[in-house]
Amino acid sequence: MDGIHDLGGKQGYGPIEVDEAEVPFHHDWEAREWGISRSARVPGINIDWWRHCRELIMPEDYLSRPYFDSWAQTDFATYINVGIISMQEVVSGKALPGQFNINQPPPVLTPQQAIQEDHDNATRFDSEIDTSPVFSIGQQVITSRHGHDCHTRLPQYVRGRCGTVHDYNGAHIFPDLSSLGEETYQHLYTIVFEGSELWPGSEGRNDKIYLDLWESYLVVK
């Protein structure tokens, strides 16, 4: 979707807070949300669907609320969507009788076990597929002119642009369908674009932009 999340090249967002203190969490609630996101998973909510649900946050909230707050809101939305939390419970702020809950207590981890689980979370997203890659390294390609209404990882700023295949990364799960619950794989390339192909007034600036793009985002030049 051409949503508010697709920020590459958009203008008017002001200065960067370069002097931020270098700490993992700036507020306790950020740490809590991080911990929740690591440990309270729900079957069927894959990363692409979750990302799409984050993209669907109202644009004014997406821009004005802090980052981990948007994670909490996305968690709420995905849990509500599958029926684990009800809007009634959101309003009342507590779990209500007769609603979803689980009999068995959840696992209790120590920090050392969390570190081990983090290690085990090194999920791979690639897979062998039957077809051969259409494009080869060094080849010129053009990206699709259009996105579509659902989740996609082809940003607006590289649509309909000419680039070169910089690398081939095997076949990876295709997010546009994964976010709809369908597990399919496509060849994934790293495509390099000259800055001047993307941005007005950037001729001669010696900037290159690299994106990892799936095969169906590309056409032969």
């Binding site: 203008q11 967002y13 949300e33 991080w34 809007m87 702020g93 920090p111 983090d118």
Partner: protein, 216 residues
């Protein structure tokens, strides 16, 4: 299982806009309360993850990887060839690094990492991403005007130097290998790791000091 229905989720967000408290801390507290009540998570497990990412998993890991690559040409070769395997020699493989790639700075090349569509980050080696990395200003500007962004971070780049911006649009993640500062030939790995800044591994820092104490 979700129905994967965007319209329904958009409506839920509109309702949440009205029904959730406006304070972020209260919102997250409300989420934790409900999830704990419903036995979806134990608060001690949340504590454990917070501690793991406050103490152990963070940019110190990335710095140790960089220091080893500087010290050991064979390790560097393995790191450039297969970063996930190389970082796991140190036990640092984990969340979001199974498809890690390392991009190397040289005198003629500077690398810079972003995720314009969300905020993908190599958690298991750099920890929690800085707030600026996740903010609209950085995400929007760095692909369009990387040199302007670098200047804002106090990094000036010669016109001849090629700037390479890596937009993490897939599950690949990028770690910048900064240049080893001159005059550090005598340092051991631990000392070298102390020179590596978090920002230098994202690409918003370039010239590392050769004589400083720990930066991370």
């Amino acid at each position: 299982m979700p129905e994967f229905d965007s319209k329904k989720v958009a409506q839920i967000h509109q309702h949440l806009h009205s029904h959730l408290p406006s304070d972020s801390a209260l919102r997250v507290k409300a989420l934790e309360t409900l999830l704990v009540d419903k036995r979806l998570v134990d608060p001690r497990t949340i504590d454990a993850w917070v501690e793991a990412y406050s103490e152990e998993i963070g940019p110190k890991r990335g710095a140790r990887v960089i220091a080893r690559a500087w010290s050991d040409p064979d390790y560097k070769r393995r790191l450039m060839d297969n970063a996930p395997a190389a970082i796991d020699e140190l036990g640092y493989l984990g969340t979001a690094t199974a498809h890690l790639k390392v991009v190397e700075n040289t005198d003629k090349i500077h690398n810079l990492v972003v995720c314009t569509l969300c905020s993908c980050y190599p958690f298991s080696i750099l920890g929690i991403a800085p707030a600026w990395y996740k903010a609209a200003a950085y995400r929007s500007r760095v692909v369009r005007d990387p040199r302007g962004v670098l200047a804002e971070f106090g990094v000036s780049i010669e016109d001849e130097t090629e700037v390479r911006v890596w937009d993490s649009t897939a599950e690949l993640r990028y770690l910048v290998l900064p240049r080893r500062p001159p005059g550090t030939g005598h340092m051991n790995e631990e000392e070298l790791a102390g020179l590596v800044t978090r920002n230098s591994m994202i690409g918003t820092d370039r010239e590392l000091a050769g004589d400083a104490g720990s930066k991370i």
